[in-house]
Subunit: 362 residues, 2 copies
């Protein structure tokens, strides 16, 4: 099987590495606009050979992956379809799908894709064979897509270690707007609001706590990348921002009303909703929350993570609430199911820390 | 010095432990509504003796700390002032200050307080002597406060390891509304919005990425506690929620406009704002962001944290972007200043990981 990878950055390079490791009979041809990156990809073993042009890369390919940045995808997909034969499936790895599918979805060879992996780094130097291991990889076939080519693509995605799932392009972009793009908008707005406190009273720089850190961690991340993503999904993002604005207006009214019981009930609903969302993909049982107070010595968090890792307890999510000296504090861990929670509790107690399990039930 | 602690939970217990460790000549008397907690506090050495009533605890005390939950503070402060002599300073540890100061600020003996520590756990079992080490501890004196008693209080707070800072009650509540309470409102609204996606299309449960996890980590946390906090700061919280709503409306317009350069510039401003906020309290230089790609083996994060800890590199903030199998992924670390960033980079490279330093300059 011949796979053409157009754009040899983190995603393209990782597809190459994964294919080399998991599909030993495959041949991976790469093309990229920057010759140095292409050379690096060959050196790293991410591609077998470097093509001089998109045409050369696509010639004879069974599958073509367009892995350019979002803004460059329309032109790249168009070129790839032009350079590919009638039996070649052409896909992409962009974070938004509506625009591409509207434009190319009538070509039976084009099936959009989006692996949920790797958003946090870039560059072929960070590529790795296991980037897609267990990751959701959305595919957006249309009524016009070739069944044979869709089948080939989803087998390829599964062979790379990912979990393919078909979704309509419009639904994909709407869901991504809410669970991925909206948090970035909120983070930006929240730091803006906090920064405005500074100018209101210039003597005082507010100190921020863990909830603020968590909520704003992605503020301003990768302006170029996110500029493109927002641009290509602007309607859905704007809609989800407005929908959140509506929820915030309701929340402001609720809080101002002074109906303490209603506010408490609203928090309890939110706790349930978050649990349901994080559990969506777990199989080991419902999420258990453990609060651990750790003693004042460096490396404690590490020791904790090691102990759980060695005992096979998966940490599904983790939040650190360090003391200002960063040497002590509390850790909240989410583990999956009662059994893992019990095991974790025992292990952590064995290390001399105090553990409180927050979820009873089941 | 005799210190009375009313309410022997996490805060009250930690004040006691810190005083025993750092002020060996002090005597700590505790009172609490639950006899079992009071006994436990004695056993843990958090208090020297348990008083049978607020009157007994306050008799002869130099300083009285009211550490009841927010909703119970007005009654407790009133009782403490009634039970204390003219030379006793009475303070509290509540998360909001306006209501208390409006009610008791004319009594020269009452000075409100709020240590920024310990919000994540509760109970005397989690108390520890170093809870306040390096933590900001806001104090809200008024024009009517006794200078002598303010001086005594701020010395006590500093002796417990905290960094006292005077702030007007109104400004305190406004700042807390933005940097502490608002993130909780947002987290609740965001999980509500994502949960609504489920009902829109019941076949599909959206998978959430790291940005969603971070932004919603505090969703629904401690409904009872947060119900009280929101209730006691409802005007300021409602105002900051509305202000954020205004920012979101502007953001939605900006995104919908399709002005990609303006969107990119907005992200860049947010990045700067976040850095400025997190740097507010650092002394080692500006924050440096390091992205680390870690290999596929358990315990890597732990090993990393240990290596940095042992070398004296302070991790100011950390974000994990685990692969779905939780055994590999990327870690973003924020360290303080160019020197620590360089040291960290070397150490991490030495462990065989790829590191990208995102902040150049100086």
């Amino acid at each position: 099987m011949r796979i053409a990878v157009l754009g040899v950055g983190l995603i393209g390079g990782s597809v190459g590495l994964a294919a080399k490791e998991r599909l030993p009979e495959s041949e991976v041809v790469g093309w990229g606009r920057t010759p140095a990156n292409l050379e690096r990809a060959v050196e790293l073993g991410a591609i077998d050979s470097a093509a001089g042009s998109i045409e050369e890369a696509c010639a004879g390919a069974d599958s073509v992956l367009c892995a350019a940045p979002v803004a460059a995808l329309p032109a790249q997909v168009e070129a790839a379809l032009g350079a590919s034969g009638p039996e070649t499936v052409v896909t992409d790895a962009g974070s938004t799908k509506r625009e591409l599918v509207a434009r190319f979805g009538t070509d039976e060879r084009f099936i959009g894709g989006h692996p949920l992996a790797g958003a946090e780094t870039a560059g072929v130097a960070n590529a790795r064979a296991d980037l897609f291991e267990g990751a959701r990889w959305y595919l957006t076939p249309t009524n016009g897509s070739s069944g044979v080519l869709y089948d080939r693509l989803q087998r390829l995605v599964a062979a790379l270690g990912a979990r393919p799932q078909a979704i309509e392009a419009e639904a994909h972009d709407r869901v991504m707007a809410t669970v991925s793009h909206l948090p970035h908008v909120i983070a930006n707005a929240l730091v803006g609001e906090a920064a405005a406190e500074l100018t209101r009273d210039s003597e005082r720089m507010p100190e921020v706590g863990p909830s603020f850190r968590d909520a704003t961690r992605v503020a301003g991340s990768n302006p170029e990348v996110w500029g493109d993503i927002f641009d290509s999904n602007r309607e859905a993002v704007a809609e989800s921002v407005e929908a959140l604005g509506g929820r915030l207006r309701e929340a402001a009214e609720l809080i101002r009303s002074g109906d303490r019981n209603a506010v408490t009930a609203w928090h309890a609903v939110a706790a349930e909703e978050r649990r349901a969302l994080l559990e969506a993909d777990l199989t080991g049982g419902s999420l258990r929350e453990l609060r651990v107070v750790v003693n004042n010595r460096p490396g404690t968090i590490a020791e904790l993570a090691l102990a759980l890792g060695e005992a096979g307890v998966n940490i599904e999510d983790m939040a650190l609430y360090p003391a200002p000296d960063m040497r002590s504090g509390a850790v909240t861990l989410w583990v999956s199911g009662a059994e893992q929670a019990e095991r974790a509790t025992e292990l952590i107690r064995g290390l001399g820390h105090t553990v409180t399990a927050l979820d009873g039930g089941d």
